[in-house]
Symmetry: C2
Subunit: 130 residues, 2 copies
Amino acid sequence: MTSSTELTHRYRRYIDVLNRRDWPALGEFVADEVTHNGRPLGLAGYRAMLEQDVRDIPDLRFRIELLVCEPPHLAARLRFQCTPAGRFMGLDVNGRSVDFTENVFYTWRDGRVAEVHSVIDKAAIEAQLR
Amino acid sequence: MTSSTELTHRYRRYIDVLNRRDWPALGEFVADEVTHNGRPLGLAGYRAMLEQDVRDIPDLRFRIELLVCEPPHLAARLRFQCTPAGRFMGLDVNGRSVDFTENVFYTWRDGRVAEVHSVIDKAAIEAQLR
């Protein structure tokens, strides 16, 4: 069993990988059979999702605001201040700056993320576009 | 410092209070100066928010799907299968059954919830109304 300190450290390295767009390193942190909100994406599908996110939001940067770790689970509140180029979550953002959060739970197996349960604060984005 | 086991037990009692609509007991679990997504609601405002939720969704029931505890923080993924009577989150639900989650972080002080950071999966509700 990985300790809470080790898992937290590992998670911070994973977030660094995302912020560096270091996709070849993703497999060190994400399991081959990863699921996202119940969908069996697998590592390739997970990478494709992240690559699409970065195409939609070139200045996407993951910032950890709150981290709660109780192995094998880790929960994080992530904060994004970014400018989606066109549509994002079905909303016409079109290059405006938005500030929103994602509350996300990870289940880890053998040092890699096996399950992700994420909710993005779409209502907050809508409020900023009004 | 409250232990993880104690805090988890306390949180489950808080959820029971919500499911029983036992508003007079709320102050045992929620701090007088509680904030919700940064808004300083206070206990009275927090109770008013919950009472409004229950008016909007008479069959509202809080179910814990995942719980991650690292005192003084606790994170929960809550699952709702319910029928909002009219509008909910700006959506015309109008008595249809919806199934959605809330990912929520709590910061506890002196055995009571002092900060809540919540995100409700509005996109999931929208998808069910299409």
